[in-house]
Amino acid sequence: MPISSTIMSSILYSGPETTAKQIEDAFKEFTARENIAIVLISQYVANMIRFLVDSYNMPIPAILEIPSKDQPYDPAHDSVLSRVKYLFSSESVASGRR
């Protein structure tokens, strides 16, 4: 049975016909709601709205990128770890200045 994209209060099922715009709208809605503390998003879905996920920097709700059945977790695409890589690269520049 194909999974269609429907928003069920606090769940968005993302299927083959789900557009990036729908995912983006759901992400903005979930991150704006006060009764949501953690947003779980499959990493391959997060890659479709990578610009939005990486630009999000609020502590609550926490955005956690999780693996899906078909797509394993890739640390290279994780938004938190991407920010960390930037810190390491800036640190090497700073040590060069000293």
Partner: protein, 227 residues
């Protein structure tokens, strides 16, 4: 005049040593922040690996349950799509890591009911779930009229001091959540439930580690900008 010069020289020496101590303390604090940041990162990676493994296990068990029970009995079409009160909720406490930073701390409250207010911190109780998981995976004959979980409750030592009524209530809540799949469900389905419960606890730990990373990152970034 010589004594005044010596006094002036003494004050300068004292001031430079105080500055030296202050800079040493600052360096030490910076190093602590960096260590905290690296530790948080390492823990985050380990937890994500553990989460991937637990989810994989849960999906495999769910697939096994679907195979043994039939696809019509383990299906998304069984969801009634009505609003239900949450059996598990999340609490947020704000820890003051410093005067400038506020680090949220997530706590999972599992199987909440009016008679069972049970909140587990991010450090989950793996022992109980691990024991149940092992028992469900053992190749044992099932006895009609008794569940594996009631046998486990009788044999488990009450070393943690928790009252047996709370555990019975948790088991009832677990069985209630599986009731949508029928009265008699496959042990693999119960095992899948436990795996996803463990995954949920791991997710809360990941969330706490994420906030720790971001807090330490902000502190390290501020120190870098000040140099």
């Amino acid at each position: 005049m010589g004594e005044e010069e010596e006094g002036g020289g003494g004050k300068e020496t004292k001031k430079s040593s105080e500055n030296g101590k202050g800079s040493t303390e600052e360096n030490q604090q910076e190093e602590e922040h960096v260590l905290k940041f690296l530790d948080s990162m390492d823990s985050y990676l380990v937890l994500m690996e553990s989460l991937s493994s637990t989810l994989r296990q849960g999906w495999l068990e769910l697939a096994s349950a679907r195979h043994s029970m039939g696809t019509s009995r383990v299906n998304g079409a069984l969801f009634d799509l009505k609003y239900h009160s949450a059996a598990t909720s999340l609490e947020i406490n704000h820890d003051d890591a410093g005067s400038m930073t506020e680090q949220p701390h997530f706590m999972l409250c599992k199987w909440e009911s009016p008679t069972n207010q049970k909140c587990c911190p991010g450090e989950s109780k793996f022992e109980e779930d691990d024991l149940l998981w092992r028992k469900s995976n053992n190749q044992q004959l099932r006895h009609r009229g008794s569940s594996q979980y009631s046998e486990i409750q009788e044999t488990r030592p009450e070393s943690d001091g928790s009252p047996p009524t709370v555990d019975t209530q948790v088991q009832k809540e677990r069985s209630k959540s599986l009731s949508m799949f029928g009265t008699l469900v496959s042990p693999k389905l119960r095992a899948a439930q436990l795996s996803f419960e463990t995954a949920l606890e791991t997710l809360v730990e990941v969330a706490n580690m994420r906030s720790s990373i971001l807090c330490a990152y902000d502190q390290v970034q501020k120190e870098l900008d000040s140099t």
